[in-house]
Subunit: 296 residues, 2 copies
């Protein structure tokens, strides 16, 4: 420890963890230190670049609050989120694929009755969403708990524009339960492409890398039911821009679906829509809980 | 981009940076993404572990302010700072070695006359420090600007305990200039071992890893003079605890020096000390600016 140099520092850090009594943590930190050091060596990281990295991470930390999670944005835009999601969600190919969680989920959204308008004032063209949740055996999953969340037509989630009194108001976000036949349906608004928050350090990073901050239009779903693996995924709108260049690498071809446009008239909920509206039908197939993992 | 999986994500992220017009940034980010992904694959990073990492970094960001830099502590305790310092400061072995900068430097410390008591009220046993700054040719470096900073006997730097009125008061921290013969001398307090700030996420990380947060006693120096490379280093107190287990891997054997203890009596500044005092003599050898880098 008194003759550390650029060649011996990595082993010195690993040796310093010898008393760690958590084998998994030791595995994680040993690998992290080795890769962190390998990176710094490989690029011959300069002191100025190190300072810039410290400054960048400091900014990421300071812009992060209970409404904005810039570290998740960073993980998403560097593809880490997709990698972690993919390597932890290998399942039979008949199952609905998982994709990234994103930074806009909110715990404790209100549970609404099937058929409810979850928009709750969020602006956008009307959209009626329906589908069925099934298991791998084709049997419907009754009483599955569905969290759904999406942006409004300006590309903002409710958490990004809190109500004037500071209270969080849930808009275009709800929990629903499938019926006895595994079906669900609700009214919301048309999903549109939007840029991830790019007025902070991650946005500047993307700009410096010649990348855009846009995501293709999508709905977020999280589905939980006893006996099944939790599913976290999106459904993406076919024909939409950015399907081939999602800023957070979330698109899977099996998750792309058609939103069907309808002229004004009778809507699926039995009302007469004075404006054009959209419908989306998408079914989800859940993996069995505790199943042996299979690579699709 | 529509069939990304755990095997193809890394290339997808790299491909997304194809329009980057900054070759160095592209090199850095390509290597960073590859190592970040290799780490996640190697340890099969789970989604819960990913969430814990996001939470950890968020805490590091939130505890960081203009008085505390937890990201630098993290870099220091993971050995990254030492690696970056070492690989950027290769120099002839006759030069004084560099070591980590640390998080407690302050710009614009007051410039004091040689011989001043820089403690400015910081508590600790009296210590008289002197030395000479020379070039590789043995010639004295006159008018070199020396920043010196250290903790008090309780292990706190001035920035960690701001004055009651919120103003920063410089204590045990100053700037000095060498005289025509390259000599400097000042009065301060005895350096003692101290723990790095460990009431935050980095402290918890160290504890989980079975590591202690202590640093051996040291003085920080930064020396700048025209025609010479800037030197950032410490001088460590011989015989002190933690020289072999510095929490930030900063010790170099050539930077360890003897602090000599004296009984009460005549001090180097001509006064009579009623209490025991210490003296330290340490000379610095600066590398020539723009010299071809040589590995020691």
């Amino acid at each position: 420890m008194r003759s550390i140099n650029e060649d011996t520092i990595t082993q010195a850090v690993i040796a310093a963890m010898a008393a760690c009594d958590n084998p998994r943590l030791l595995t994680l930190m040993t690998s992290l230190v080795q890769h962190l050091h390998s990176f710094a060596r490989e690029v011959a990281l300069s002191e100025v670049e190190w300072e810039q990295a410290i400054g960048f991470l400091t900014e990421v930390g300071h812009i992060t609050d209970d409404k904005r999670q810039e570290f998740i944005l960073l993980s998403d835009t560097l593809g880490l989120s997709t990698l972690v999601t993919a390597q932890n969600n290998a399942k039979p190919c008949a199952c609905t694929e998982s994709t990234v969680f994103g930074p806009f989920f909110v715990e404790g959204a209100p549970e609404l009755a099937l058929g409810a308008d979850i928009a709750n004032g969020a602006c956008g063209e009307p959209c009626f969403v329906s589908g069925q949740v099934r298991g791998l055996d084709g049997q419907p999953v009754a009483n599955a708990l569905i969290d759904v969340w999406q942006s409004d037509e300006e590309g903002h989630y409710d958490v990004q524009s809190p109500a004037p009194d500071g209270e969080h108001e849930h808009r275009a976000r709800a929990r629903l339960r499938t019926d006895d036949e595994g079906y669900f349906h609700f009214r919301s608004i048309l999903a549109v492409p939007y840029p991830i928050p790019h007025d902070g350090p991650v946005g500047r990073m993307l700009e410096a890398l010649g990348r855009h901050p846009w995501r293709p239009a999508h709905l977020h779903f999280m589905i939980v039911a006893p006996g099944y693996e939790r599913l976290i995924t999106h459904v993406f709108r076919n024909g939409c821009a950015y399907l081939d260049s999602d800023a957070v690498f979330g698109v899977r071809s099996t998750l792309v679906a058609d939103w069907v446009r309808h002229d004004p008239g009778l809507a699926p909920d039995g009302t007469r829509s004075p404006v054009p509206f959209y419908t989306l039908r998408y079914d989800f197939v859940l993996n069995t809980a505790g199943a042996v993992e299979m690579h699709a």
